[in-house]
């Protein structure tokens, strides 16, 4: 597992993300410092507009902070070029979204293969890796199905397989159960927990559901109005 020293997987140091809307400045994330240890399951908890998804996007390399620094994979993400940031997303990070974000015109197999194409993995190596990722989420028999032919839970599992196929060290999940009923949501959370424990992955999950965070996360970081309110081990 890649760390940045002292067993840390990601370190956000006085990170800010401000947006200018005319004369007004929206402080989506404001001076947040947060450390995530390798192998940890951290929940970013907060209500809508608290800045938790923005912070997740900054740590995932999808966005750049307007202030502060984020260290991951041994480097300051703010200083990476666009190409280097794309490589970081491709090789180090796996992403799961609330709305699954599978490409509707591709089959499950093609959706899961997509990150391998983007990472220029050899064709011969792809099929076994796709198979392995789908087996991990127990969807190996749905290879040729399109997303519209799957249930919400299955789509999220497929998205999880896609996030895992490049064997990342960091998994970022943005409200992974937000579009699912509670039973299906729980099955996804159990799967995430299983992946964390079996693969030793670092998982950062955004949620607004405190019970879910308390049940599955090792640590909960609560945000409100872009600021970190509390950061503590989940008892």
């Amino acid at each position: 597992m890649v760390t940045i020293g002292n067993g840390l997987a990601v370190r956000a140091e006085r990170v800010s993300r401000h947006y200018e809307m005319g004369a007004a400045v929206i402080r989506a994330v404001d001076d947040v410092t947060l450390e995530i240890r390798a192998g940890e399951f951290v929940a970013l908890l907060g209500s809508s507009g608290s800045g938790k998804s923005t912070l997740l996007n900054l740590m995932a390399g999808l966005d750049r902070p307007t202030g502060g620094a984020i260290f991951a994979n041994g480097r300051n993400l703010s200083e990476l070029s666009s190409l280097e940031l794309a490589r970081y997303r491709s090789r180090t990070v796996g992403m799961v979204f609330q709305s699954f974000n599978l490409l509707p015109r591709m089959t499950l197999e093609e959706n899961v293969e997509l990150p391998l194409r983007l990472a220029a993995v050899d064709r011969g190596e792809r099929a076994p890796r796709v198979q392995e990722a789908l087996e991990r989420v127990r969807l190996e028999k749905r290879l040729s199905h399109r997303p519209s032919e799957l249930s919400g839970g299955e789509q999220q599992r497929a998205a999880l397989a896609r996030a895992l196929v490049n064997r990342p060290t960091l998994l970022f999940a943005d409200e992974p159960t937000g579009n699912l009923d509670s039973a299906t949501g729980e099955s996804i959370m159990l799967l995430l927990k299983e992946i964390q424990q079996k693969l030793g992955m670092t998982i950062v999950m955004v949620t607004h559901e405190r019970p879910l965070a308390e049940r599955f996360a090792d640590r909960i970081a609560a945000l409100a109005d872009g600021k970190l309110l509390t950061d503590g081990v989940n008892s």
Partner: protein, 451 residues
């Protein structure tokens, strides 16, 4: 991303918007077809004009005359002085010209006035000797009847105006006989002091007499146009007969009087000889070689350059005109790709979240643009060729109705095919520049939020 994956994803994207992609490709095809049709017309016309002019003998011909000093133009020398006089244009000179590399043929011009008798009625006209090589040079394309059956055949081809004079129904003349009355030169006995130099000569210093003769000829063909009229050709000849036959008649020609008073070494001397080169570009070196032998020459080689410049400009104008449709097609590509960005905004966000670099997104759009350009180019070349065929067909139907020989005014050389396809791809890539860079610049967070 690997090139193969880029290609697969691009083709998949085009297939998914098959109607729009097809219409855009069709737009490119129409643009390329317009370009190909116009340019092939220009190239075809240039080829046609070059062929016709080349066949006319205007540009691949050198006219050779005997070089004379200025005094000899005014007054014939009283006596022969071989050391000072220019080399005579005789059979030896003719043989020397034939040995020059890239010379196709050397012949003298035989043209003389005559009286034609047909059905007992006399008609005055000009007879011209036609070399056997004229059969394949296009001058006799569209001939009614046939070309001469052989170089020594007692046959004649009539120019249509003469044929109309002879008969109200010119085609009925084919296969009929006519009689040509002409003035034959007969050598007079040479003067005693020059008798040893006179060999087989009818224009020796002894002079010649004129004897009226008749020759029966069979009409084998009628041509609408005056073949290869003009410089170095058979201009103003209305009755055309094989050159060998014309020479054997030893008919008195217009320059005989001048030659009769000029001193020669006793051999037949030509007023001029026509030297034909393999191509117009070789005229210069042949002309130089002949000048170095001590003869005067004349050619129209500079005119070919002017013709080339004219067609270059003509082709350029056609290219600009034909490109207008391609420019409109370019706007179609831009429109299609910009629409694709709007439709696939979220997809681009997903690709970026999964690790696609800006350049991957850019290349994806470029490949899509170039695939449309390539397919449009290939289709366009096909359409352009079909347009050319259709127009040629139409022109030939019209020409046939006008009793004119068919012609091909369109030419699609392989380099034009290649140029059109490459140009279509390049133009498509240029059209893809803006959409591709706009797609590449998309912020993944904003793109993922897009519904």
């Amino acid at each position: 991303m690997k090139a193969g994956d880029l290609g697969e994803l691009a083709l998949r994207n085009l297939r998914e918007a098959v109607l729009r992609s097809s219409l855009t490709t069709l737009g490119v095809a129409v643009g390329v077809a317009s370009l190909v049709a116009w340019l092939s017309l220009g190239i075809g016309l240039q080829a046609l004009a070059t062929k016709r002019l080349s066949n006319s003998g205007l540009f691949d011909t050198v006219i050779v005359t005997q070089r004379r000093n200025p005094q000899s133009m005014r007054r014939p020398p009283a006596e022969s002085s071989p050391g000072k006089n220019a080399r005579p244009l005789d059979d030896d000179a003719k043989k020397d010209f034939e040995q020059i590399p890239n010379v196709v043929e050397v012949y003298s011009q035989v043209r003389f006035p005559t009286e034609v008798r047909y059905n007992g009625t006399p008609f005055s006209t000009i007879v011209a000797g036609i070399p056997a090589s004229a059969r394949g040079n296009g001058s006799f394309d569209g001939i009614q009847g046939t070309f001469f059956s052989g170089p020594n055949a007692d046959e004649a081809i009539l120019q249509i105006e003469l044929a109309k004079d002879l008969s109200a129904q010119p085609s009925s003349l084919l296969g009929k006989d006519l009689v040509v009355r002409y003035a034959e030169r007969q050598a007079l006995p040479p003067q005693a002091e020059h008798s040893s130099n006179s060999k087989n000569s009818d224009t020796s210093e002894g002079g010649f007499s004129i004897v009226p003769r008749e020759k029966k000829l069979r009409i084998v063909g009628i041509i609408e146009t005056e073949p290869a009229a003009g410089f170095g050709g058979f201009g103003s000849g209305r009755l055309l007969i094989p050159l060998e036959v014309a020479s054997s008649l030893r008919a008195a020609q217009v320059n005989d009087l001048r030659d009769a008073v000029r001193a020669t070494n006793g051999k037949p001397v030509y007023a001029s000889l026509t030297v034909r080169a393999k191509s117009a570009s070789l005229v210069q070196e042949i002309e130089t070689a002949i000048k170095n032998m001590g003869f005067g020459t004349f050619s129209l080689q500079d005119a070919t350059k002017s013709l080339e410049v004219f067609f270059r400009i003509f082709d350029m104008l056609l290219f600009i005109f034909g490109s207008l449709a391609l420019a409109v097609a370019t706007l179609g590509i831009i429109n299609t790709l910009v629409m694709a960005i709007l439709e696939r905004r979220r997809e681009i966000g997903i690709l970026k979240a999964l690790g696609a670099a800006d350049r991957d997104v850019k290349q994806l759009f470029f490949v899509e643009a170039s695939v449309m350009g390539f397919l449009g180019g290939v289709l366009g070349v096909g359409f352009g060729w079909l347009v050319g065929r259709a127009v040629t067909l139409g022109i030939n139907v019209y020409l046939k109705r006008q009793s004119l020989p068919p012609t091909d005014v369109f030419s699609v050389p392989w380099w034009l095919v290649l140029l059109a396809i490459v140009l279509a791809v390049l133009v498509s890539l240029v059209a893809g520049l803006y959409p591709a860079s706009r797609a590449a610049r998309l912020n993944p967070v904003e793109a993922l939020r897009y519904e």
